[in-house]
Symmetry: C2
């Protein structure tokens, strides 16, 4: 592929699709040619890549002929329908949806953590859920020095994690408030402006939501710790971009704050901002637009000898989605 890679982006008009184009351009991904697809209602819209205007089409016969890498971020149903077609046509699929993540034949990859797993792919590679990626980034270096015994994760998730419509909803409700008008929910189940909603996706019989169970199952698969006890609570907050997660982790071996900070600071893709006295710690508005994940508020657990509390935040459209997907492709085209 020295002469370049033929790329397709499916779901190009969505928040992740748009960010995928940006990341491909920023990272000088060797794009030879680019096809952009979205749903029926986006046909005829245009997107821009490296100054060129491209017309959005829907996936049709021959869509993936000659494509080397197809990035999918159009949702699970679309991935289930079209990803196998793309593989059949000879493309490698990097899928951002949840369709194939727990399929034992599909590697679930965060390149800094389990890049080697990518090489075992059979055509499809899955990108974890955005909250999973941001959470698992500091868990890996912590596990390497202390061996994880239990994880409790409590999230503060941005509206763009739910896509462009989430951003539109927070914008629309906030502007309505500014005009003194009612903040009617249309997309989220309740008002999101000036509110927090402790409910993302459908609940199961045990009361956990699909978003919470993704976090449990995906963290286990990525870390190759199939029995790791994980206790999740996922919450939507009125933030545009970047997810934050308060993590309590118990380890087999005691890890001091100093050891944890050193491990976090030295892990690729992770940066330490931990000077609370100077007001320095990760926040959505400071991590938005950044490629790395940021960790801070590292504290030894007051309630447990081998416990640690910390706070991690990351741009869930970048490392939590588009960037991680492009990094997966980079692993395999190098």
């Amino acid at each position: 592929m020295a002469t370049g890679v033929s790329v397709a982006v499916v779901g190009v008009t969505g928040a992740v699709g748009q960010t995928t184009l940006k990341v491909l351009e920023e990272r000088k991904f060797p794009v030879k040619d680019l096809r952009v697809f979205a749903s029926e209602r986006s046909i005829g819209k245009t997107v821009t890549f490296k100054g060129e205007t491209l017309r959005v089409d829907k996936v049709g016969p021959g869509a993936f002929t000659g494509v080397d890498v197809a990035f999918f971020s159009a949702g699970s149903a679309q991935s289930r329908e079209y990803a196998p077609q793309a593989v059949k046509a000879g493309a490698m699929v990097v899928d951002k949806s949840s369709a194939f993540r727990m399929d034992p034949a599909v590697p679930l990859v965060v390149p800094e953590i389990n890049g080697a797993a990518a090489r075992r792919h059979q055509g499809i590679l899955a990108c974890p859920n955005c909250t999973t990626i941001v959470t698992v980034m500091p868990l890996k270096p912590l596990h390497d020095i202390g061996r994880l015994r239990r994880v409790i994760a409590t999230s503060y998730q941005a509206v763009s994690g739910a896509g462009v419509q989430g951003v539109e909803e927070l914008t629309r409700q906030t502007l309505a408030w500014a005009r003194g008008e009612a903040m009617t929910p249309k997309f989220f189940p309740h008002q999101i402006a000036f509110n927090v909603i402790p409910h993302i996706d459908k609940p199961d019989a045990g009361g956990y939501t699909a978003e919470e169970m993704k976090l449990v199952n995906e963290v286990r698969k990525i870390l190759e710790l199939p029995d790791l006890p994980v206790s999740p609570t996922t919450v939507r907050v009125p933030v545009f971009t970047a997810h934050s997660i308060a993590v309590n982790a118990e380890t087999e071996v005691k890890v001091t704050s100093a050891q944890a900070r050193e491990a976090f600071a030295g892990f690729p893709g992770l940066r330490l901002w931990d000077e609370p006295g100077e007001g320095r710690y990760p926040m959505p508005v400071t991590v938005e637009g950044q490629d790395d994940c940021f960790v801070g508020r590292v504290r030894e657990d007051l309630s447990l000898a081998s416990g640690l509390n910390f706070w991690v935040a990351g741009d869930q459209l970048r490392k939590g989605a588009a960037l991680n997907g492009v990094q997966i492709a980079e692993l395999l085209i190098r």
Copy 2:
């Protein structure tokens, strides 16, 4: 006191002081006469109580002469200075500040939980921190059936928990955003609109903030469990009123979700909203203005046999402050 109670409110122009007047009126607290105090810069302002306009004064000589009950919500420094004067003048002080909370001679009271402790007062009664009150409300019935072994609390705190200036800051920044202008921080250390700040009050050497340590120490004192392991993370969110807390609790005796729900629903001052499939769970916008605390998202812990996750929210100006203070006074005047 059959003919009524002579009342003083110190810090009457603040968010909690204003709510105290509202609550006294709503609950038909037998106010015989009312004196209202605030800081130098509020002198001459007026407040309304039962349709009457009262002029705000600063605390001066004789301020508490003849006063039966004085509600303090002017901050720790003011409480340290004036509460002993009020006690000397014969008043019973209900203090909302942190000044006396950990004083062994001062009862720290949530009436539904440890109302009996109030009777041991020596003039001053302390009202816990707002986040503590909302968190401890469901912990008590859970402890009664399962005996608490460890608590991990992660908060989503409203700006009005920081007072009127917090509300003004979120309002000002959001309106600036609506006009396309910069959102400059003036009161909180960082932008709060469309952001979350994992830092409330000063950090200590171990990295925990004063707000986090209040939660640890006050929960222990209220529940009379001086060694209870508590692991806190407190976070400010862009919500006007009502604090929410994601709680993970470990008990000596296994408590099922059904048992916990029953215990929560039956506890005075606590209500169960736990039908996530129907979108029913506590949120800031639905609990604001309500006297009770609300609990939902009750889930048996996936990571521990005797663990439980739940979500509790309460109006921190009411049950978290003003209402709890008035309830303390009611215990003692009945």
